[in-house]
Symmetry: C2
């Protein structure tokens, strides 16, 4: 993968599906393309050049959707017409009085609490319906099996189909995408109303099926969707809802609301959302998250009281452990063991999940088959899982008839199941009975439950429906903790304490610790500790939980990326890996060790031909603008799209028509009057006069008016799709603006076919070639080009550590390396990624994080495995790819 | 207050004392100085110029201690000699294996847990001793009173004296200073061993006196001290303990440890420390805080178990509220009332605290008296407070005989004191008896307790001993919550719930809510909610606590800055105010509205005279380096100190001695050989040849070798005191280096008195003047000057919101505003502060936050009240102040 453009492309390809949807077509296309190129050989015909130009435009058009930008999402300007002036005034008064952040956050909390409650309610009904069907058919095991299996298959298939048709972006957890969006990457389709509907309905059906799936990740996405839509709605009433910074802040708050209203855990929600979505968090925004999440959690629980489910507001999975002596100091090693084992388990889960995705992607036969029957994959997996959990069948050994919620409640029970290792001694009540089997020990049931649920969850989360993995992992963790706890209880039937009073061991406390540790290990977060306290309503086990979570994190982080980062890599979203635990080598690597010294740049005095060449060879989205090739003083950076627009304008049809018109007029004039053929020259001179006036002799950028008055882009703000270069036309070309603009922005093949009405394109290909050659030799006019006058700069001695900090702080994707104003290199996310992941050698030593060898097979492999096809493809992609074809190369997939 | 230099100066003056220690001397000095200047008039004699120069040097010397820098503190290079090579290797192996962050954090946690436990133990002994004395003398009330009063007076006086003598930096909470240090400001003396000792012993004595003081703030400071010292110690064994970024990260973790081991609250500790010290937090560092704080809290509680205080690890102030029905939904309005009232109370507390400080400062008579008898103030306040709490006296109405800890335990009691409003019905037990008074209702006792403790705490925290205000405020909040709870219990004796079962109201729950709300309001944090859960070991009241804390924060934040920000302003540490709640005007202000357009700059081709003038007029710590006055292309920025060094070198004694020597040699040569007088010219030419080679004709900074090879300062990293310009000497001046360096760095008056041994300074004043004039006309040689090649740049259109974000993200204190490379303005913290605090008018409207009028009298007053004396002083300060005199102006104090 060369350059940052690869990320951008990846965004388009693999956005929703994790199992290589277009792989087959890509291979075919690439081969065809290669053959075609070989045929046409090296000749650089006029047609090819103009074709390149078109493709540059297409590229721009395609990129607009997912272009990196300061804006998290793009809002249409609100229609102001249908609101009366009076309402607007009232609204404005209200807004200025109350402070619109409050209103927004309260509304967001309210809506999300309602959504969460309704979704929970529907899921509960779905699950009850399945139980009712299963229970009603107890006369015939086969009918029972059919009912048990058909119901989830239908629901999951419906969910997958519905999501696929309405908004494929709704598939999966949503946390990886939110992390990417909060980094400043625009994933526009991810925050639309269609996605919202697809996600909510898809999620309800998926969870209603009883598969081991969670609602947490999707709720983060739903809350963000909700915030985005609410912003859009509120912007109808005026206010500052279009502001980019504000929107990012609100999205961050929305993520907190998502977790908060899902678990009724405001504090844990805020912390968890910070940990999984941010690298740097503004403490300033803290209150937003707390405020909205608290309100949301409050309403969510009030709804339960109102529905008579509860008597008052309490925790979701309330535990009743004794307060006076929650655990003995000597139990701590057992808790530590849970933590370490959970760390390995969490890493294994992430690895397994990725392995399944890659296996299905890489097996061409499977892949081709699944591509054709797109709903077969979900159906098959559901069939497999539900068959295995069928209670009269294998399910009897793994408490198969319990729903996820029931399992968790029983696992957190404060009574001990197994005294002295004999399960029968205990009087099982209610749902706990499911864990009891006449022939089999409760330990065996737990072990089978853990093992089966482990791979089932890893498998189920690859189904293309809206679903998360947090809750299944949480339950598995609780089961593991329970297992350890029951073992301890069997080992020390009278507790460990020797000071007189008998305090028996509480296996439920172990379950709490296990749940927090495993979910913490999978997500690489510490705040799962807080979530379990809020979920159980008890904080007595705080120290064991914290110890286990920290140990689990330490182990898991050194083995695997987090589940969300793993998905980010699978989906090829742009990312920046975290600096690991205590790798002090990072402090010794300097920017000069990792920077690319061969920077693509354009000079102030370059001609269009240089521009053309640079655009064809480079991959970066922005190009450095230097004063001259000799001085290399960095003046700013220009976006690729801007330069493409400049070039298109210069070589575009409208300008050519203008030329033809001029020539025709000149011809006419010459026929009437003599010596009027320098008209065209005048034109050129005129356009050159308004040019950005740099007198290279004096090294002075004199403050010319057009430059000074231009609304320059603020530093660090990349233009959104809205900020297209509207004011490209120069000087006397006014009257052909409309067509030129269309040409620029529609970028559809038929725009080229449009005809001016007054003159006819009578130029031959030969003439066009000559004209184009002539145009290319002109000096570039940067007058109407948006230049970022303060691109981020580093110096050679900046450490990798600091560079990483700056990149994640400011959400940069590249930075220039300068030495007293002179441009000497560039560092992009890619170089940084490479350096952090340890493929850079500094001072002769291969620097890599400890335990990296464990990780290697999974994540940082095959940077050099690119095939010839890949290289060819990479080279040609910017030139030859067609806009309709969103096709990843096979080697792309391998190299993740 | 003009320019950023004011902050710097403030650092020196008011670092430790809040009540204007040097005010009197300053007035005298200023008047004398003004008289002297009037006398000497406008004549610019040689002596004055060289004096200025000396003062510039002094200034630099003085500033080195508290210079803004990327380094939080400066470490001496470790002596490597006494460790054998073998040990080093073993150590290195261990470090590379285990990961030194772990070791460091574990050590830090361990040490801090021990310190916390020992301090607690000593405090408990002190308090017991007081009780024992008081109890033993119950035959005679007067003797009892004497014992009750003398004991705390002696302890506080000792604490104040000890701290004052050993390390005045140890006074106060330490959180404001840590916030400043974590912003990147160097407050060197704040992290020394002496301060550590002073803080620990001072704190123990102060808290042992039983005054309403807390240990939380000081513990944040102690933990940071501990981290700094541990870093220093660990750096003896090699490793990367000198790295600046790492040290900042470790300090942030240390703050978490401080809170964590103080309350045994790891999660709350991490969150609280983030909220009070950071504006942007790296999620990457999260684990460090959690890890160290958990370990520390664990050890802290294990020590209690080991000491047989507890049976197992539990919460510090364990509560036993019922779990099944903690509160009714209909009680929520009461909780909301607690929140709102606490918000007002918190703001009042901050205001009261500041008022006391300002009153004492401004009353000259009091001030002068207190200056003389420095220990009288603490003694007087202690006398007042302990007299009022004397149990047989007024103390009987306010539970005076309870210590802070006992009060808190009784307030969080889960039983109801007052049923039906009649206190006597309840059987008071143990410490709770203190709240019962035969004549007076329990409500009256609570009200008196709240009112008295409120002003006592505000007053006591102004005593110059190491102390915090968190715990007193926490107790007052708990009392207020209890008051509301008892009222509710009296109002609804059978609880509010109407569904059959009687659930009486739990006043202890109200106390928890009140404690969290009031401490949250005073500190502007939400994480006090988490702290109370961890302190009480129960999370059942999560929703009421969250609601109350958020409401309290909303109210308090709109009325007053937080207690820590208030102290930062009182102490005049550099700060950046937070953007308030939902002030959307912030999004519309642009940098161009607030920037200073009249930027002080130096050009590449300037001569020393320009440098001299710029240094005398400007106040900013860094100066912009532009290519030329015409082009204004920003090349970088140079620190003031660097330029001062350049100028000193050019005009310094050593160079003059060199000149004299040359002249003498030339004289000698002329006596022997003819025509050797151009020697000196050669010298000058030689030194000019190595000069930074810019050919202004070609606008090219050609990559000359000396520039390319120089280790340039990384972006965003400001040099520490270690990075002094060691390599100033040029060319042939080698042999006079030592004296010149001494001259530069010692900056003591007697350095000037040192004599070269070989030649005598036989120049007359007239000759020196001529020589200096000649020197000043030379072009500046920037060759050995450290230039920051990438100072932070903004553009005119950057919004205030984004500017604020960038400033707080990167800890900047100024940024240049450029337009395509041209420097057009500068924005410093001061401008930003002004703009945020609402004294900037944009588009004709005075922009100010809502409710700002409440705040005005306290915080943003008198920007224009500067007196003539002030102006004079401000103007002359950079020229005339003497190094020994740390003297703030009176008007400085007023204008905060």
């Amino acid at each position: 993968m060369a350059g940052d453009g690869s990320d951008q492309r990846a965004l388009q390809y693999e956005q929703t599906l994790m199992y290589g949807r277009y792989t087959q077509e890509l291979g075919v296309f690439a081969k065809e393309e290669a053959a075609r190129l070989r045929e046409s050989g090296q000749r650089r015909s006029i047609s090819e050049r103009s074709r390149n130009l078109d493709l540059l435009e297409y590229d721009k058009g395609r990129c607009a959707k997912c272009r990196r930008s300061g804006y998290p999402y793009v809002l249409e300007p609100p229609p102001q017409d249908f609101i009366s002036v009076c309402t607007v005034r009232c609204q404005k008064f209200l807004i200025s009085r109350v402070g619109e952040d409050w209103i927004f956050l309260i509304l967001l909390g309210l809506v999300m609490a309602l959504v969460s409650w309704v979704v929970d309610f529907c899921i509960a009904i779905c699950l009850q319906a399945q139980k009712w069907m299963y229970g009603g058919l107890d006369s015939n095991v086969f009918l029972q099996y059919l009912a048990w299996v058909t119901y989830p298959v239908v629901l999951i298939t419906f969910s997958a189909g519905f999501t696929q048709i309405l908004a494929p972006q709704a598939v999966g957890s949503g946390i990886p995408e939110m992390k990417t969006i909060l980094r400043g990457v625009v994933l526009k389709e991810y925050l639309t109303f269609k996605t919202f509907v697809a996600k909510v309905i898809g999620l309800t059906c998926a969870l209603g099926s009883g598969m081991p799936l969670g609602k947490e990740g999707p709720f983060v996405h739903i809350a963000s969707l909700c915030a985005a839509l609410l912003s859009k709605f509120m912007s109808l009433f005026g206010g500052i809802y279009e502001n980019e910074s504000r929107n990012i802040e609100m999205l961050a708050a929305a993520c907190a609301v998502g977790v908060g209203c899902c678990f009724a855990a405001p504090i844990g929600g805020v912390l968890f959302s910070i940990e999984v979505t941010s690298t740097f968090f503004a403490v300033r925004n803290y209150w937003r998250g707390f405020f909205a999440a608290t309100f949301s959690a409050f309403i969510f629980r009030v709804l339960a009281v109102w529905n008579r489910d509860e008597e008052t507001i309490t925790a979701l999975f309330k535990t009743r452990f004794r307060l006076d002596f929650p655990f003995d100091l000597q139990e701590l090693p057992a808790f530590a063991v849970i933590g370490i084992a959970s760390g390995f388990g969490g890493a294994l889960f992430v690895y397994l999940n990725r392995l399944i995705v890659q296996f299905i992607r890489n097996q061409k036969a499977i892949n081709r088959f699944l591509m054709k029957k797109r709903l077969l994959y979900p159906a098959l997996i559901t069939l497999l899982v539900s068959t295995l959990t069928f209670p009269p069948g294998f399910g009897q050994f793994m408490a198969g008839k319990l729903t996820q919620k029931e399992s968790l409640v029983t696992l957190l029970d404060n009574r001990t199941w197994a005294k002295q290792g004999i399960a029968e001694e205990f009087d099982f009540m209610g749902h706990s009975q499911a864990w009891q089997h006449p022939q089999v020990n409760v330990f065996v049931t737990l072990v089978i439950f853990i093992v089966m649920k482990f791979w089932m969850s890893a498998l189920a989360t690859t189904i293309p429906v809206p679903c998360g993995a947090f809750m299944p992992v949480f339950v598995i963790g609780a089961a593991f903790g329970r297992l350890v706890g029951e073992s301890m209880a069997a080992w020390f039937p009278d507790g460990i304490n020797t000071d007189g009073t008998i305090y028996p061991i509480v296996p439920g406390g172990y379950a709490v610790v296990g749940a927090a540790a495993l979910s913490g290990a999978v997500t690489h977060t510490v705040s799962t500790a807080v979530i379990v306290f809020e979920l159980t309503g008890q904080i007595s086990h705080i120290l064991p939980v914290m110890i286990a979570v920290i140990l689990a994190n330490a182990v898991a982080q050194s083995l695997q990326p987090s589940l969300y980062d793993s998905i980010i890599r699978i989906k090829k979203l742009p990312y920046l890996p975290e600096l690991g635990w205590g790798h002090h080598e990072k402090y010794n690597i300097r920017v000069e060790d990792i920077m690319v010294r061969d920077v693509r740049y354009i000079t102030l005095s370059c001609c269009y031909r240089d521009l053309h060449n640079v655009l064809l060879t480079g991959q970066l989205k922005t190009l450095a603008l230097v004063e001259s090739a000799a001085s290399m003083i960095l003046l700013g950076s220009i976006e690729r799209a801007q330069l493409q627009a400049l070039l298109s304008l210069q070589l575009g049809r409208s300008r050519r028509m203008e030329f033809i018109r001029e020539r025709a007029a000149a011809e006419k004039k010459r026929q009437s009057v003599v010596s009027s053929s320098d008209n065209e020259d005048n034109l050129h001179r005129a356009s050159q006069e308004v040019r950005f006036q740099i007198s290279t002799e004096e090294s002075t950028i004199s403050p010319t008016r057009p430059v000074a008055l231009k609304p320059l882009k603020p530093a660090l703000k990349r233009p959104s799709a809205v900020e297209r270069p509207i004011d490209i036309p120069i000087g006397s070309q006014n009257h052909s603006n409309s067509s030129s603009l269309k040409n620029l922005f529609c970028a559809s093949p038929d725009a080229e076919l449009m005809e001016d009405d007054d003159v006819e394109d009578d130029m031959t290909l030969r003439e066009i070639a000559d004209w184009e050659e002539m145009q290319l030799d002109e000096q570039v006019n940067f007058n109407n080009c948006k230049i970022d006058p303060a691109p981020f700069q580093l110096v050679e001695r900046t450490s990798l550590h600091k560079t990483h900090t700056i990149f994640s702080l400011l959400g940069l994707d590249h930075a220039y390396v300068t030495s007293i104003g002179r441009l000497i290199g560039v560092v992009s996310l890619k170089e940084l990624r490479k350096a952090i992941e340890g493929s850079v050698t500094v001072k002769g030593v291969k620097v890599r994080p400890p335990l990296a060898s464990f990780r290697e097979s999974g994540t940082s492999s095959s940077e050099n495995e690119a095939t010839e096809l890949h290289k060819l493809w990479d080279r040609q992609k910017s030139i030859t790819s067609l806009p309709g074809e969103r096709t990843p190369s096979e080697s792309d997939e391998k190299s993740q």
